[in-house]
């Protein structure tokens, strides 16, 4: 294993220390339990957006803490969900009296830990809603399983909901918006190489020089299918078509009902993409792929979208949700409406994402 680290067990803490040393104007860090939060929080009257998950996906989530995006992020160990005490402590520290939205990626660990945190927060009198992101079309047969994973759409939801919170939306409005972003966003990714978890020290999976792993998640977990290496155009096409041709998707998720004070099952349906849709096209590096290659993917993606009558009105290209140093990319398409576009364009100022200010 060759990485710019000291001891594997210090990876998360030292990375956070470096981060706060670099951006003291934007963020602060609390250790034990770990969470990164806006330097100017809590903000009275503003809904706080909190996310979190395993580390190793940087800049998501810690790099997105700041004005116009997240109020706090709870980093777990590498690829391991953070714990309820982190989420609870962050909620307490960020609460400006208007409640908390937890944005949760759909992994059993994240879901269960955020559920426990939600129950704990509610019992302490903090109003919390939580919305699951489950946008990975590589996962099939969800009816009796864990359902789809949360991947690229998470980044877009955090940007859009963060802007909404900044503009004074209330908790229920933001939760509804977040759910809408999730339902309209779909993603899929491919790995050219594995990544190496620092504590493990060896690659999570082995790929030969001729193989790629199609339909991977963001934790180095194996994908849907291993196949021989393909050209960028073929890869872009496989990813894009899996997304565009994905049928509308039904599943039942648990959401906290803060009127009833209990978990309720909610049935949700993703619409399929249709001709004429305006979309945001997001080409994401898995960490080790340079932007020059992402543009080659984007080139083909733009062509495919046009052929399918999807109008790309916004795009995002870069390393936003990664698997350590893995080579590969993911594509996310999000169907936009006017409100989402307005919120997308709103200013943001975080360690890893800044515009308009």
């Amino acid at each position: 294993m060759k990485k710019l680290i000291n001891k594997p067990e210090d990876f998360v803490r030292e990375s956070l220390e470096g981060m706060v040393a670099a951006h003291p104007d934007l963020i602060k860090v609390n250790f034990d339990p770990n969470f990164v939060y806006r330097a100017d929080a809590p903000i009275k009257g503003k809904v706080a957006i909190i996310s979190g998950g395993g580390s190793g996906h940087e800049p998501m989530h810690t790099g997105f803490v700041g004005m116009g995006m997240l109020d706090a992020a709870c980093p777990g160990e590498v690829f391991t969900s953070p714990t309820p005490d982190q989420m609870l402590a962050a909620a307490k520290a960020m609460d400006g009296g208007s409640g908390i939205l937890y944005i949760v990626k759909n992994y059993s660990g994240d879901v269960m830990n955020f559920e426990m945190a939600t129950e704990l927060a509610e019992s302490e009198g903090i109003r919390v809603l939580n919305i699951l992101i489950d946008d990975d079309v590589a996962v099939k047969d969800s009816l009796y399983t864990q359902g789809r994973r949360g991947v690229g759409t998470t980044v877009l939801a955090e940007k859009i909901c963060g802007a909404a919170a900044e503009q004074g939306y209330d908790l229920q409005q933001i939760a509804n918006l977040c759910r809408r972003v999730n339902l309209n966003g779909k993603s899929m990714g491919v790995a050219l190489t594995s990544c190496t978890v620092p504590a493990k020290g060896t690659p999570t999976f082995e790929l030969s020089h001729q193989e790629i792993e199609m339909g991977i998640g963001i934790h180095g977990e194996p994908g849907r299918e291993r196949m021989s290496i393909k050209s960028a155009n073929e890869i872009a096409e496989m990813l894009a078509l899996s997304i565009i041709e994905d049928k509308s998707y039904n599943r039942t998720v648990r959401e906290w009902d803060d009127n009833k004070g209990e978990w309720v099952d909610v049935e949700l349906i993703d619409p399929a993409f249709a001709k004429g849709d305006r979309v945001l096209a997001f080409v994401n590096s898995m960490g080790g792929t340079p932007v020059s290659e992402l543009y080659i993917i984007y080139r083909k993606l733009a062509e495919i979208c046009q052929k399918h009558g999807l109008q790309i009105v916004r795009n995002l290209i870069g390393a936003y949700i990664t698997s350590l140093e893995m080579q590969g990319c993911s594509i996310t398409l999000l169907k936009l409406d006017d409100e989402m576009i307005r919120l997308w364009d709103a200013p943001v100022k975080t360690p890893s994402w800044r515009w308009g200010i």
């Binding site: 969900s81 059993s108 269960m112 426990m116 864990q146 978890v197 934790h219």
Partner: protein, 200 residues
């Protein structure tokens, strides 16, 4: 409690094994997660050494919840939490206490994780073990023998996860590709019960 000490050592010894199992169908951290949690547990034990079993298990639960993370953190955390409530105040456990404790723990895992038998999770090791222990207890078997049956059932259940297709947890994303691999969580659950047997 010697059991926790023993389990912590066993986990340490099986850290790479559990992690390798998780690498095949998950994200290669189960051994790392469990060891991190139980190492912390070990450091906390002295401060509760004179407490009743329920209190000790409650401390274990809180420690696991706040250090393990991932899926196994809340699951094992809930398991120990419910177990602690089931035997609150006890200093020693009869076979019936043990059964109540195991049942409560299992229910906690199922309540939190919503997994059913056959979903290729730790439930596939825990549920048969609890059933076997219950059966033995009903037949008035003594602790050692009942626990032997439970561990045998857990081992059997653990092995039966190999041909299963995962329906819960990270392995479920693999669909059919999860078939042919032993579930890491079922394995750590088996090791937990085995450690308990070893110190009886």
């Amino acid at each position: 409690m010697k059991w926790l000490q023993k389990f912590a050592t066993t986990l340490e010894e099986n850290k790479d094994y559990l992690t390798e199992l998780d690498a095949a169908i998950g994200d290669a951290d189960h051994g790392i997660n469990m060891v991190r949690g139980f190492q912390k547990v070990i450091t906390q034990l002295p401060s509760v050494a004179d407490k009743d079993i329920g209190s000790i298990l409650k401390t274990v639960s809180m420690t696991l919840i706040s250090t393990v993370g991932g899926a196994s953190g809340p699951l094992y955390g809930t398991l120990f939490l419910r177990a602690s409530t089931a035997i609150a105040g006890k200093q020693e456990l009869t076979e019936q206490d043990m059964l109540k404790m195991l049942q409560a723990g299992l229910e906690g895992v199922i309540g939190r994780g919503k997994a059913q038998l056959g979903d290729k999770t730790m439930v596939d090791a825990l549920a048969p073990a609890v059933a076997a222990f219950g059966q033995a207890a009903q037949e008035s078997k003594l602790m050692l023998e009942a626990m032997q049956k439970a561990v045998a059932a857990a081992e059997q259940g653990m092995k039966e996860t190999i041909p299963m297709q995962a329906k819960k947890g990270r392995a479920s994303y693999l669909g059919e590709r999860s078939v042919g691999h032993q579930d890491p969580g079922a394995t750590s659950s088996y090791l937990m019960l085995k450690s308990l047997l070893d110190i009886i």
